[in-house]
């Protein structure tokens, strides 16, 4: 086999993914081929370089808080998540019910009929004013001429 064929197997060999028989043949080749051995060493160095590059990363100090806030998780400070409060609607409903009950109680405890403050007044007869007397006609005097 040529080096090219072995080079194609180096990556799998590096990860332990090469079948045993092929791995044995490759190992035998590596012992006598410094070029392929150097290639293998270079491929193995990639992981070291990648991890070194990521080790210098400085993550934001508030990353966790941002994630948990975005997730809606309230236990960051140790507090439990505030549960939805049903107290206010219950109080309003209770007050409404009390008012309704008071109205009903008031309605059924009062006597039927007009309010006691109202009393029928006696009806006074209406006297019509006297009609004016009819004028008495005056007969004219006889025998005397009017001048």
């Amino acid at each position: 086999m040529t080096c090219r064929v072995y080079e194609e197997q180096l990556s799998s060999y590096l990860d332990g993914e090469l079948p045993a028989a092929r791995a044995a043949r490759l190992e035998a080749h590596l012992k006598v081929c410094p070029h392929c051995q150097a290639e293998l060493d270079e491929l193995g160095g990639i992981a070291t370089r990648l991890r070194a590059a990521s080790s210098y990363l400085q993550v934001s100090h508030d990353f966790d808080r941002r994630v948990l806030r975005a997730f809606g998780y309230y236990q960051v400070t140790g507090w439990t998540r505030p549960t939805k409060s049903y107290l206010k609607p219950l109080v309003i409903a209770a007050l409404f019910l009390l008012g309704a009950l008071a109205g009903v109680w008031h309605f059924f405890t009062q006597p039927l009929g007009p309010p006691p403050a109202w009393q029928p007044q006696p009806v006074m007869p209406v006297v019509a004013p006297a009609a004016p007397a009819a004028p008495i006609p005056v007969a004219p005097e006889r025998g005397r001429r009017r001048r």
Binding site: E8, L10, S11, S12, D15, E17, E42, L43, I46, A47, R49, L50, R51, A52, A53, S54, Y56, L57, Q58, V59, S60, H61, D62, F63, D64, R65, R66, V67, L68, A70, F71, Y73, Q75, V76, T77, G78
Partner: protein, 200 residues
């Protein structure tokens, strides 16, 4: 750098800190106090690191990682454990990165000020770090993703196949191709004396 959660005086349950991922996921599904925080603590850095190496921008990487965690936490009650939690999380992070429309070309000047890097790093290491990021930026997204999942996050071939929904044979061949590409671009950029990434 202190964890914002720890500064509040709150700490995870000792049992949760030693629980394996499967038990921790079950605790999250039951909304046990501290379970989500423990999971975040374990996978915060790997998720952001993977996203950063994929996207080349820390702010974008944190946004992607945040989105991935929120999706994971919301779906945890339905998670049946067919795959490892890490495989699930990395799948989401990778897919978000590959679909990220705000991804910028990760061009990096070797002599530029490196904001995400600790200021007390030896210069040679910093140079190699920058060169690594430049090489990653020059790779195609699919090769970059598979290389990071294997060589940075340590996923097995089977886990990578599950995360990227690829056949095992494709994982094997694509990973080999990715490593060859990384090596070749590294050689080209090293011999070129630190030019900015031009191809992706």
């Amino acid at each position: 750098m202190e964890d914002a959660v720890r500064t509040t005086g709150w700490s995870t349950d000792g049992r949760l800190a030693t629980a394996d991922d499967r038990a921790l996921v079950a605790a999250c599904a039951q909304r046990k106090p501290g379970a989500f925080q423990e999971l975040l603590s374990r996978y915060r850095r790997p998720a952001i690191s993977l996203a950063y190496q994929m996207l080349g921008d820390l702010e974008d990487a944190e946004d992607v990682a945040q989105e991935a965690f929120v999706r994971v936490f919301q779906a945890i009650p339905r998670f049946r454990g067919q795959a490892a939690f890490s495989t699930w999380l990395y799948r989401i992070v990778t897919n978000l990165c590959l679909g990220n429309r705000r991804r910028k070309r990760a061009t990096v000047e070797l002599d530029a000020v490196r904001e995400p890097i600790a200021p007390d790093s030896p210069s040679r290491q910093v140079t190699e770090v920058l060169l690594t990021r430049q090489v990653l930026a020059a790779m195609t997204p699919d090769l970059r993703a598979i290389l990071l999942l294997r060589d940075q996050e340590g996923l097995s071939y089977t886990e990578i196949a599950a995360a990227l929904r690829l056949p095992l044979g494709t994982v094997r061949s694509r990973l080999s191709k990715a490593r060859m590409a990384f090596r070749q671009i590294w050689t080209d950029l090293s011999s070129g004396g630190g030019e900015t990434a031009a191809t992706g």
